[in-house]
Amino acid sequence: MPSTEAARECPTPMNDIRDALLVARDSQHGLIRRPVSPHIGIYRWPITMVASILNRATGIALSAGSLLLVWWLVAAASGPQEFATVQAFIASPIGLLMLLGWTASLFYHLFSGIRHLLWDAGTGFAKPSLNPVSWLVLALTFVATVLVWFAGYMALGV
């Protein structure tokens, strides 16, 4: 038999002072733990959520990658030595990794952007198509990225 009234009423013991903020009374005036909305750490991420977050994330990544484009163009306009420096950076491991990320981001943002434009035109909102099209955008990104890098591999013959 619990010794205090609070311990008798509360469904779970309060071990932390912050638990006081999560306790409320139900319609019978009994103490209950308030239901807490799950945050993203708890959710199993729906693919539509992944698709939406990736669109923004790749947009930000491409913004950073635009520095590489500007550097490349400026180097091309500056001379052979400057251009060789950029080419050497791109061919380095970190450069190749950045270029791979840039390629994948570009294709994802492109395909996802086309999807957004179709949404803006009023199509593509049907519930059954949302999950498959999210996967389709990911699959197209993967295929396009692999194709481009395969073409590059073949062209350079390395």
Binding site: V74, A77, F83
Partner: protein
């Protein structure tokens, strides 16, 4: 007895309704500009990826000659203008979503616009140099 229909009170001036700007005071310009630049970027991006792929391993003279040709230079300038305009519009929405406090938010947006303008102008000047100065 049928319920009496209530008159809907629109708490906006007629001028405000005509302008269609709503609470944001800015209308749909930002939204439209983001879409228009996106539509332009679809073919421009595909062209650029194919162009880069067909010049893999090329040295600077070949790239400079390619970028200097009028059609390529024009498409590069269009790509640069659309990319940095779209980038600035998109990053603005990100800052508006995540930065609280109008001073810090506006400072971030202005800094982004300034950086995008300078980056775009730098890239454009590089292309114009390739297009006008004999390589």
């Amino acid at each position: 007895m049928a319920p009496k229909l209530e008159k809907i009170v629109v708490m906006r001036s007629q001028l405000g309704r005509v302008r269609g700007t709503g609470a944001a005071h800015s209308g749909a310009h930002h939204w439209k500009a983001e879409r228009v630049t996106a539509i332009a970027l679809v073919p421009l991006t595909v062209w650029f990826v194919i162009a880069v792929l067909s010049h893999l391993g090329a040295e600077q003279p070949a790239i400079a000659a390619w970028a200097g040709r009028p059609w390529n230079a024009a498409l590069l300038l269009a790509l640069i203008a659309m990319t940095f305009h779209h980038m600035q519009l998109g990053l603005q929405v990100v800052w508006e979503d995540y930065i609280h406090g109008s001073m810090r938010r506006d400072a971030a947006i202005l800094a982004t616009k300034g950086a995008c303008l300078l980056l775009g102008l730098t890239a454009a000047v590089a292309v114009l140099k390739l297009a006008t100065v004999a390589q």
